[in-house]
């Protein structure tokens, strides 16, 4: 229950963080809230040699209305997202999903950046940013780049970020269709989603139906073609590869996806 030994370093700015990472080798990891990374380290499933604590880079914690888009700093905590009045009015899907992550203690520490970079397909926020067509901004030794959410998640716990690249901001266009819903199906309140669904307008993204969050393109096409919620939802499991574990086999997950997408679309319709 104790991490293997590591060297702790601290960055007080993004530049310093990128610089420290460049000089610390490939076995260095950034530490934000620590609620994805530290649990892995405590079980010794992750053994980074260097931790670069970026938790004090205050300028990375913000939610701003930038006219056509909302800008969210990568170090904004789930709790701050859940309470943000900007998000409540512009991106309630994100505010609500953030309020469902873990428990209050976890939400006080965990950050959106940490969650996205950790890239657990069973986590809530990766699917949400996918549904919101977000752009992720990363700064590395060779400069800054923008990555579409659809390109960001590679595989289980893998993103396109290179070692030493720091996620700094999430840019979310204000959605044209205001209908939204978030269905998170769990055994217990604190559990990861067995299956989850994030809906924003005609965008539908799935939690825990593959190695990354996935857009339910079959559903989206059906909706675009005029199908109603339940008919569109029938396509929910197409082109997904849901895992089998102690909570559910693949068939049950596919069934849940269909049911939850249907419910989410109906719920979103009441808000449109």
């Amino acid at each position: 229950m104790i991490p293997a030994p590591f060297t702790y370093k601290r960055a007080s700015s993004v530049d310093e963080a990128v610089d420290l990472a460049a000089r610390s080798g490939d076995d260095a990891k950034f530490l934000a809230g620590g609620h994805s990374l530290l649990p892995l380290m405590k079980l010794r499933l992750a053994v980074p040699e260097v931790l670069i604590d970026i938790g004090r880079i205050g300028e990375l914690s913000y939610v701003r209305d930038d006219g056509g888009q909302i800008l969210v700093g990568a170090l904004t905590s789930h709790d701050e997202l859940a309470r943000s009045s900007v998000l409540a009015s512009e991106l309630p899907l994100l505010a609500h999903a953030a309020s469902q992550v873990g428990d209050p203690q976890v939400r006080h520490r965990g950050t959106i950046g940490g969650s996205l970079v950790h890239a657990d397909p069973a986590a809530d926020l990766p699917a949400v940013v996918l549904a919101l067509d977000a752009t992720l901004v990363a700064r590395g030794p060779s400069g800054t780049r923008e990555i579409a959410a659809g390109d960001f998640f590679q595989s289980l716990f893998e993103t396109v970020l290179q070692p030493g690249e720091l996620l700094t901001e999430i840019r979310i266009p204000k959605p044209p269709n205001r209908g939204w819903a978030f269905q998170k199906f769990t055994k217990r309140a604190i559990d990861w989603a067995i299956v989850g669904v994030a809906v924003q307008g005609g965008n539908v993204a799935l939690v825990n139906m593959g190695q990354t969050p996935v857009r339910a393109s079959g559903v989206e096409q059906a909706l675009a073609g005029g199908a109603g919620p339940r008919d569109a939802a029938a396509h929910a499991a197409e082109q997904t590869s849901p895992p089998a574990d102690i909570n559910a086999d693949s068939g049950y997950r596919e069934h849940l996806a269909r049911v939850l997408v249907g419910r989410a679309l109906e719920e979103a319709a009441t808000r449109a």
């Binding site: 649990p39 079980l43 931790l51 604590d53």
Partner: protein, 159 residues
């Protein structure tokens, strides 16, 4: 590395291994053993303390992350005269503890909850405590204690 953490109002300074968890810093360096370790997957909440006034699971915070910050444990709740905090009083009045092992974390989670939501419903209390496990009480009286403490806790915060 050297860390300085203000715990219950007192500065605690120590040279500790980088990987020291905040909960062990509190127990072994600050010698405040009320906060307990109940699991190793950030699940049970027995280690809950306040970090800058907000509940956190101290087993999943490095002492290094708390360096320069303020921590409140259950030992720091009593007022200057040693009288119990309204939440502590309510837990006793409502029999919200049995073996006591989860209790410090449960109390601190409650203090944080009531600071953020001064008049919660039963459902909100149960949801807010989903990360605090208890094996003895069945939660029934813990929920009663939180609801009973709410008005007095509110007054205590404003005084």
């Amino acid at each position: 590395m050297k860390v300085i953490v203000t715990v219950n109002g007192s500065q605690i300074e120590a040279e500790v291994p980088d990987r020291t968890l905040l909960v062990h810093f509190l127990r072994d360096v600050a010698n405040l053993t009320a906060t307990n370790v109940g699991c190793d997957t950030t699940s049970c909440g027995a280690c809950t303390v306040l970090l800058d006034g907000k509940s956190v699971k101290s087993c999943t915070v490095l002492a290094a992350q708390a360096d320069g910050h303020e921590v409140t444990t259950v030992e720091g709740l009593a007022d200057g005269s040693g009288a119990m905090h309204p939440v502590q009083r309510a837990f006793q009045a409502e029999h919200g503890l049995q073996c006591g092992f989860c209790t410090p974390g449960m109390v601190m989670a409650t203090v944080s909850l009531l600071a953020e939501n001064p008049a919660p419903t039963e459902e909100e209390v149960r949801s807010a405590l989903e990360g605090n496990l208890c094996r003895c009480t069945g939660y029934h009286n813990i929920v009663r204690a939180v609801l009973a403490a709410a008005p007095a806790a509110s007054e205590r915060r404003s005084s």
